[in-house]
Symmetry: C2
């Protein structure tokens, strides 16, 4: 422990480390990896199959299945072994859109931009109806709509979300921002959220009302609900959708509607104009297989002693459904696949076993990686660990869009700082320069971190992830930046190489405490 | 002439003018106009009716007719006289979209964002077909597609237009940019374009081929054409469409397709994947009245000598069809309507007659204003002038989006500089500060300038006109900035007041020479 404290103090102070066991990299290996990754890349071809060819990859959808099957076959073709779909647990129903059409017809014709909310039903053929504005903040407000919504198209009286901004959509990290990250102090252990605080109570109350509102509208037999989607200019950000549970209650058809179309309909209706619409939405729920699956494959280790140890990389393959989840997260999936392709292409015979996993149902709560961790490594609720937990050196994740790697989040594991600093040096010229002690959240490395396995997400340039692509109808192949993906795959391959070849496993933080279910 | 030269030298040098006849403004009038325009504005309500309620206002469409009739009635309600639709000449057919649905069905379902090209026919019900990629740069390339396109959905092999940028969408003029405009030197007389130059020849050749290409596809009985629209993120910029002439040849149905959807279909088809689509497009051509009409109304002059002289303001009311032409040009139309409303509301009894005109078919070539000028003032081809030409003091135009007024283009008429400088002073605080000797083009003041009548367009902040709204499916009411429109209406009302009340007409440039038809 003292050594770790010493290291982190010295890192922060910018002082060269006293050498006890100096980390080394193999320059010849780095060169081979760079040559293959930067000059013979297949990452865009992989991305093409995961996005354009597969279609939307919502959890347990036919599109995800197509992508998973393609990935398993492709990994086999590249020479990986044990490539398969591994069940992680029960997920729930699949779902896909099979027809999506809606338009204003009165006062005049206008086809709208809108996306069926995930896991909602269709309209059972073409429906036509009057638009009714529902203004309600609590259950009492709903009484006046009783008996008035049958066959109607319901819209809620909410303010515009249209954000007018003079800022650009797409950004790369500046040197100042990277320096700030590098100089960040370790984050204090987050206090567990106080679920009894007024803020939480307000959120729970708001959520409960939204559910009650939709329940009411469904019971009143409305034909269709329009909800306002975040986004402008034709970009529609979808939400987490309705329930995918096997036993989910029935809900009304719902269109997450572009803000411009939504506000036009609302202004007209509130302005006393009669508004009629038509819609023909068809969706399908799939219940033949409620299991969730992860794609897994390996490059077997060759060292007598070390081959039972494992290096893992991964990212989630599932996406949202309005486009083809290109930056979230075909980008990460394609990069990780490309990383193992690079290592096979240079004929790498690793000491440790290398394993790639492409998770599903990350979007619903990191379920694919959590399930995998539970099945293989341990239970974060009880911290009952399995033998494999002691053998996984590290897990590397990519899930922050198409932007190239600028560095890595150390996730509070200060002892890895000198190691990663050394490993990153050969790629400083490609913009990967930064180490930050800080954590980052919201994706699958957390599942590993929760059971004491070193799990890392790279720092990536944001590009237009938040502003345009994350969970939107604009998350398409066009948003992928080839040079960035090639750079990322090259760096990941090199980190995997080093993790496999170094004498010791990656140093670990203290084991987390058990986190009983909230 | 010498006086004008003297004035412009002194303006450029920033030297105070020697007073011969000092321009004055009436501070009490300015105050009343500001009070009404800034604090009691109806501009957004007007804009609501011109956009949301009327719908798309394509030349001679039902939407334009609705807006024109509403405008005539509203102007009457505000107390203007002689409010009417005045025919300007023969335009051609009206057109509107009555159904717009298209989707990829194979390899999976995906509804696309696409707009029927103006003045193209529908599909006659739901059609389904294979997508075929046509790669052709000249007529010879077309031979291989003979007999292969019947019932197909044709897409052209063209590069992506997707522009990745780190610049913001929305901008206001900086002080530096305004200073540059103020310091600009007069533009030299533009040499007539050399229509025999290689560049023109290349353009003509490319256009001729596009026409031949579509002719071929139509003759080969393709079911539908997809063309790639400029724009990203769900924004679709439409083109000038097919011919609206009474005698126009029949063309194939065509969808101007969002670049992301277009490129996805193209990548799949070129990548050897079978792509099928379905579409149901219904459009209507209207031939009952081929005349074009301008909205005109007046506040009659009251001065015995001056009332036969006229001050005109205007802007075009017609729009493109993918949205509701809010910034192009409901903004200008609403501002001009609001300007005359302000003057009536403050009970202004002008010396000269004030006339407002809301043009149609500006988008097809300034036809509404050109026709009006031909009927009332003269023919720029021959410079045969009518008596009214001598009596119109000035024409003020607004057609550069929702952005507020930052100044005015003097259109080379240097003698007006000291006049407008004085008139603009009471609005310096609202950001209107700049005079530029330069011309600006592309809109209706040019029709007046062409027959020697002072015609002016104001300098407006661009906001996101070029980047998002001009001729796009995103040109909606949401893009209008209320404070900017209120400011513009206030300034226009004051300029009208001053033009009406000043002793002399606005000083004129030399008469242009006759411009025989090219």
């Amino acid at each position: 422990m003292k050594l770790k404290l010493l290291f982190s103090c010295l890192i922060s102070a910018g002082i060269a480390l006293p050498v006890i066991a100096q980390e080394t990299v193999n320059p010849a290996a780095v060169q081979k990896i760079r040559e293959e990754g930067l000059n013979h890349s297949k990452v865009m071809e992989t991305a093409f199959y995961l996005t354009d060819v597969s279609g939307p990859r919502l959890a347990n959808s036919p599109g995800l299945r197509r992508a998973q099957n393609w990935a398993v076959n492709q990994l086999k073709t590249w020479g990986l072994v044990n490539a398969k779909l591994e069940p992680w647990g029960t997920f729930g129903k699949g779902w896909e859109v099979q027809k999506n059409y809606a338009a204003i017809t009165v006062p005049y014709y206008h086809a709208i931009i809108a996306i069926p909310k995930a896991w909602t039903p269709g309209t059972n053929g073409l429906i036509k109806g009057d638009v009714v504005v529902v203004k309600a903040d609590s259950a009492i407000d709903l009484d006046k709509y009783k008996g008035k919504l049958q066959g109607k198209i319901v819209i809620f009286d909410v303010k515009p979300l249209v954000e007018r901004t003079l800022k650009p959509d797409a950004i790369r990290y500046t040197d100042e921002e990277l320096a700030e990250m590098a100089n960040a102090t370790p984050q204090p252990q987050a206090a567990p959220a106080d679920i009894n605080s007024p803020q939480f109570a307000a959120i729970r109350k708001a959520r409960a009302f939204q559910t009650a509102l939709r329940s009411f509208v469904y019971d009143e037999k409305a034909a269709l609900i329009l909800s306002q989607a975040r986004g402008t200019d034709g970009t529609v950000f979808t939400t987490n959708g309705a329930s995918y549970a096997d036993t989910a209650k029935a809900v009304a058809p719902e269109l997450e509607t572009s803000s411009e179309d939504y506000q036009r309909i609302l202004r007209l209706a509130k302005g006393g104009q009669k508004v009629e619409m038509e819609a023909d939405i068809k969706t399908q729920f799939l219940t033949d297989d409620l299991q969730g699956y992860d794609v897994v494959a390996e490059i077997p280790g060759t060292d007598k002693k070390l081959k039972e140890q494992v290096v893992m990389i991964g990212g989630h393959l599932d996406s949202w459904h309005a486009a083809t989840g290109a930056t979230d997260n075909a980008a990460g999936s394609a990069v990780m696949m490309e990383a193992v392709r690079i290592l096979k292409a240079i004929n790498f015979k690793p000491k440790r076993t290398i394993r790639i996993a492409l998770w599903s149902s990350e979007e619903q709560g990191l379920f694919g990686s959590k399930g995998y961790v539970l099945n293989h490594f341990g239970d974060p609720k009880t911290m009952q660990l399995k033998p494999e937990q002691a053998k996984l050196s590290a897990y590397y994740n990519l899930d922050n869009g198409t932007g190239k790697i600028r560095g890595i989040y150390l996730q509070g594991d200060s002892a890895v700082a000198p190691i990663f600093k050394k490993w990153q040096e050969p790629f400083n010229d490609l913009g990967a320069t930064t180490l930050t002690i800080r954590n980052t959240g919201g994706t699958d490395h957390l599942s590993f971190d929760a059971v004491g396995i070193p799990g890392f997400q790279f720092i990536q340039d944001p590009i237009d992830y938040s502003s345009r692509t994350h969970h939107s109808n604009q998350d398409t192949y066009d948003r992928l930046i080839e040079d960035d993906l090639k750079q990322a795959a090259t760096i990941v391959a090199s980190f995997v190489y080093n993790t496999s070849e170094r004498a010791e496993m990656i140093p670990r933080k203290e084991l987390p405490k058990a986190q009983p279910a909230k």
